[in-house]
């Protein structure tokens, strides 16, 4: 907390229901990405690299794995004295009944007591299911410079896609004059990234009022930000440049993995000055067999490749047997493609086996095929 007097709260309760079977047993922030990571490694590593020592993670949906995963704060170096990752699922309190988090703002409101124990000057609100690298210390410097009541990180999106986002309309100084949620006729292309810096004392007052408001949906985007704008608050947009992805669907998760195959891709996971930290596994290095063909791939430790891999991302412990082909696909941790099987434009879920000579997915498919159950091959 000493470093910059800012505490981070990561909203990680999202279900991610459009990821279908991938989020049946784990929350979206715990979904695997990029060969060896889970999505929540990104905000957590960003915090660690930005000098934020205390991070609260608000979990709700299918949180067993997520809770134990983030609780090991040392994975991200967040384990020094006065530092830590706190898992914050809804809880019963002496003066309140057990209640689910009713919205993003309510998740924070229900943990005012936790935040108060650190009495930070600033509160950083993050989403646990976005993939990006960002220095929050720079955003805080901008927040201070603007003497803002709140600063919202925004990213420029193509104008024709702007109506899918929460759009910030700003004046020439960068001050937000209007916020429109998914506008039919957007006036700007600055999309909110769901990353907010607030002055804690001020936000605390607003949250206490919001909790009592029966008409509120207790959401930052729908309630808190519009209320601040109505009050004539000093809200600023902080423009972020770089890779940012909210992987809501199987197609976009696949695509975000495929982005890593590009030379000099924007996310640049190889940047040693801004590493993304994750769980340490004891798998062997990658074993590439005598007849293997690897052409454009992102492969991590524990993989064993005896067949062909084209244009694909292989996660920890994925195996491609001799004579098998993996094309334009993603193999999640422990997925196995047996002899002679062909996997095309597919995302094979954790630990799923594709049997001998089985054929999965097709080159011309409109959507990426999610393979979440064992595919039987020739026995």
């Amino acid at each position: 907390m000493k470093q910059n007097n800012m505490l981070a709260m990561i909203l990680a309760g999202g279900r991610g229901s459009r990821l279908h079977d991938l989020t049946k047993k784990v929350a979206k922030p715990a979904v695997s990405y990029g060969g060896k990571y889970r999505i929540i490694d990104f905000p957590l590593s960003n915090c660690a690299n930005s000098g934020i020592d205390v991070v609260g993670v608000l979990t709700q949906y299918e949180s067993i794995l997520l809770n134990s995963y983030v609780a090991a704060g040392r994975r991200w170096g967040l384990d020094a004295k006065d530092s830590g990752v706190y898992v914050l699922p809804p809880r019963e309190k002496s003066d309140a009944n057990l209640d689910v988090y009713r919205g993003t703002a309510d998740a924070i409101s229900q943990n005012i007591d936790f935040i108060d124990t650190y009495s930070p000057e600033y509160l950083l609100i993050l989403s646990g299911d976005h993939i990006y690298k960002m220095n929050y210390a720079k955003m805080l410097a901008y927040h201070r410079e603007c003497r803002a009541d709140a600063t919202i990180a925004v990213i420029e999106v193509p104008m024709k896609e702007a109506s899918r986002f929460g759009i910030m309309n700003t004046n020439e100084t960068g001050r937000i004059v209007e916020f429109e949620e998914k506008p039919e006729h957007p006036k700007s292309n600055l999309a909110s990234m769901g990353i907010y810096i607030f002055n804690w004392k001020q936000l605390r007052r607003m949250l206490l009022a919001d909790m009592k408001d029966p008409d509120s949906s207790h959401d930052f985007g729908k309630d808190i930000i519009p209320a601040m704008l109505n009050d004539g608050g000093n809200l600023f947009a902080y423009k972020f440049k770089g890779y940012w992805k909210d992987v809501g669907t199987i197609d976009s998760l696949w695509e975000a993995n495929m982005d890593l195959l590009d030379r000099n891709n924007e996310l640049d996971l190889n940047d040693s000055t801004w590493k993304i930290y994750t769980e340490d596994v004891t798998a062997l290095p990658q074993y590439i067999g005598a007849d293997a063909v690897i052409d454009r791939a992102f492969i991590t430790q524990g993989c064993v490749i005896d067949g062909e891999v084209h244009n694909s991302v292989l996660f920890t412990g994925a195996k491609v047997a001799a004579g098998a082909k993996v094309i334009n696909s993603v193999l999640m941790p422990g997925a196995e493609v047996e002899e002679g099987a062909v996997v095309t434009r597919a995302l094979v879920a954790d630990g799923v086996r594709i049997g001998k000579n089985a054929v999965v997915g097709s080159a011309g498919s409109k959507n990426i095929e999610l393979v979440a159950k064992r595919v039987k091959g020739d026995e």
């Binding site: 060969g35 994750t278 004891t282 290095p285 590439i288 454009r296 492969i299 430790q301 891999v309 292989l314």
Partner: protein
């Protein structure tokens, strides 16, 4: 929790690995890309429930201490367990006074303070996996004074030449410990791995020190073979001793075959190492990688054949890497052809287009060198 504490011994004066050893002790040698040789004895101990471990270092401790750190990555209980690095002052290489016995004597007060009745001793220059908990329980059951591991080999004429051999009777009693003179194919190679009571260990160390200033622990054991009940325990599976440059090269290369690797690695016996938080390896269009073991964090555009690639290496387009061990953070430049080499950390092979050694005598490229 084990009834034994562990000692990991440094490589003695008989071990000389040209090149690599100028920069770090054998225990800190890179092995199979992502490991260091010392990861194997420490993981063996950790997996066997031994969580009080002393690692002896006599020279160039920097890279070893950096790698070991607090020892947390070895899955040692962070409160009850400990991984201690033990220094010695007599640390010149080749110094006849710089023996393991001298190191134990120097640190005797630490050894005496440990409240565990047994000790397991393992070397840092040998690669194998073994369960020390059965080694210990069988030792206790046998009633022997000392049990020691050996590996029966059939290539002792041209390998393991700096190692010791065990002369064993039919009852597996050790009659003597002798140097391998390379005069016979079949030998029982001593794995320098012992279990005994802490009390006996201390007695033997003190006796050795009194007898001769240049005695090693193996020397005193050899002398005591007549007086003590020393039993030999056979080891099966992968076994390598890194006692010279060639054996380092061979020990690595043989593991590029997954079949051999499965003699060393097993899913229920993890080998721990320090993570570097490298991202996965990126293979670009045009890359051609076969029969190789590749670590994370590499950018590969060229051809890699029958080689071991360390973390964070860059293999540029048109480069050919064949039968090589490439350590971490090495760059092989555009169109550079390298063959039969051990390339040390941070080296950059960019100017000379052909750096090819003979397969019988692999070459060595210095740490941080630019070629």
């Amino acid at each position: 929790m084990s009834k034994a504490f562990g000692i990991i011994n440094f490589a003695g004066n008989h071990i000389q690995v040209d090149g690599l050893q100028s920069y770090r002790p054998v225990g800190a040698f890179s092995f199979l890309g992502r490991y260091r040789t010392i990861d194997f004895p420490i993981s063996n101990m950790s997996n066997s429930g031994i969580d009080n471990i002393e690692v002896y270092v006599r020279r160039k401790p920097r890279s070893l201490t950096e790698h070991l750190g607090t020892g947390r990555h070895y899955n040692i209980n962070s409160k009850r367990g400990q991984l201690n690095i033990m220094y010695t002052e007599n640390n010149r290489i080749g110094d006849i006074y710089s023996t393991d016995v001298a190191a134990y004597i120097e640190n005797m007060d630490c050894i005496e303070r440990i409240h565990l009745p047994y000790v397991v001793i393992a070397p840092s220059y040998m690669i194998y996996t073994a369960d020390y908990s059965t080694f210990l329980s069988e030792h206790i059951e046998s009633g022997a004074d000392i049990s020691m591991m050996y590996h029966a080999v059939d290539n002792a004429k041209d390998a393991f030449l700096n190692c010791s051999t065990l002369n064993i009777n039919r009852q597996k009693g050790v009659l003597s410990i002798e140097p391998n003179h390379g005069n016979a194919k079949n030998k029982n190679i001593s794995m320098d791995t012992y279990v005994m009571s802490k009390e006996l260990f201390i007695d033997l160390v003190k006796k050795a020190y009194k007898t001769s200033s240049m005695y090693t622990f193996a020397d005193i054991l050899n002398e005591e073979c007549e007086n003590l009940d020393i039993r030999a325990v056979s080891h099966r599976g992968y076994f390598a001793a890194i006692c010279d440059f060639n054996s380092y090269y061979q020990a690595n290369m043989v593991l590029t075959d997954l079949k051999h690797a499965s003699d060393l690695f097993s899913p229920d016996w993890p080998i721990y190492t320090r993570t570097n938080d490298s991202c996965p390896t990126q293979y670009f269009e045009g890359s051609k990688v076969t029969s190789s073991v590749v670590s994370n964090g590499c950018l590969i555009e060229g051809t890699v054949e029958n080689s071991i690639i360390g973390r964070g290496c860059v293999i540029k387009p048109g480069a050919i890497v064949k039968n090589c061990i490439i350590s971490a953070d090495v760059v092989i430049g555009k169109g550079v052809h390298v063959e039969n080499l051990v390339v040390d950390k941070h080296a950059r092979l960019i100017r000379g287009k052909r750096v090819i050694a003979s397969p019988e005598k692999p070459g060595y490229i210095k740490r941080g060198d630019t070629l």
